[in-house]
Amino acid sequence: MSRIGIILIMGLMAFVVRALPQLIFVGRRFPESLDRLLRYLSYAFICSIVGVTLFMTGGKFESHLAPARALALALTIAVAYITRSAVSGMLAGLLLVLTLSWLR
């Protein structure tokens, strides 16, 4: 099969995975306990994405950069919590990452 063919089939499969739940679950309110489970799953999923994108590259744990990134994440969380602003938290963490990388 040609590369274009593989890409087209791969995209079609991704589209089905994305579209099916939209057609099945649209407008439905889940029972309270199921809604809570879905919320826990979503939040856990988001935190997993944060952990993996922050501490790993190409399937490898970047141990030498992890302390600086963890520190920046902690600062982000603290500033976001105090200011109730996600962007302020992110900017504070970003500045710390830049500072630490320049100092290295």
Binding site: M10, R18, P21, V26, L37, L41, S42, I46, V52, I77
Partner: protein, 247 residues
């Protein structure tokens, strides 16, 4: 009018995603070119598959001409994560016709899921606090989602096209900062939206277990650990509710 307002609102919320997508889409374009893929293939893959992790994961086998089944299975496994994301968003699109849902579902990605999902949660919570049954209708939510999703999609596709021609030349420190933008923004959003004590515990457990999970299995590990953490705390909470109802 309201649709346009919500769309713009979504676009504003997506700005950190655009900033994060620029380096990763450029990196994808550069990597794909280095693997010998043609411009049309790179742009088609970004526009039609629209999944950074899956695109990176299959790049090697695709460029090396490995079995198409292997490439498709790897891509499918990577893209299965869209299933719970899309299912979590669907209840907020009440009343939207199916064709529009079908078309808009193409821009569901990890980033375009997180920002609208947290926004809808917040609006539902605010509506509940003020005694309303629903804060916004499905079309307004769809407009917000498209503001985030469609604009991020465009940045991804255009960035991939640029990546084909432009060499990546960010200084190391700048690259490091760019890598932080997306997880930093998501962490900030979570902190602002979280209420109660169970959710922070769920989040911390998922965060700490994500890396060991991903090291154990790069495709499924972090997804499985996140699911187990959520199910564990949900189960404990259900058990506690039943126990207190019986006593």
């Amino acid at each position: 009018m309201r649709f346009a307002f919500r769309f713009r609102q979504g676009m504003k919320a997506a700005i950190p995603i655009w900033i994060a997508f620029v380096p990763s889409s450029l990196a994808w374009g550069i990597a794909a070119q280095a693997h010998g893929m043609r411009f049309a293939e790179i742009v088609l893959m970004s526009a039609w598959v629209y999944s950074g992790p899956a695109q990176f994961a299959v790049l090697g086998p695709l460029a090396e001409g490995k079995s198409s089944v292997q490439v498709l299975v790897a891509g499918f496994l990577m893209n299965l994560r869209f299933l719970p994301m899309s299912a979590a968003l669907a209840p907020y699109f009440h009343g939207v016709n199916r064709l529009k849902l079908l078309l808009s579902s193409h821009v569901v990605s990890a980033s375009s899921f997180i920002v609208p999902y947290l926004q809808f949660q917040k609006e539902r919570q605010d509506a509940g606090d003020s005694g309303l049954t629903e804060s916004t209708d499905g079309y307004e939510n769809l407009a917000f989602f498209l503001g985030v999703g469609a604009s991020s999609f465009l940045v991804w596709v255009i960035g991939s096209a640029f990546g084909y021609a432009v060499a990546l030349g960010f200084p190391t420190g700048f690259e490091e900062a760019l890598k932080f933008i997306l997880p930093g923004y998501f962490a900030g959003l979570l902190v602002v939206e979280m209420r109660g004590w169970v959710m922070p515990v769920v989040c911390l457990a998922a965060l700490f277990l994500a890396v060991p999970g991903a090291l154990a299995s790069p495709v499924w590990g972090w997804l499985v650990t996140a699911s187990l953490v959520a199910i564990f705390f949900w189960g404990a909470e259900q058990w506690k509710c039943r126990a207190s109802a019986l006593s």
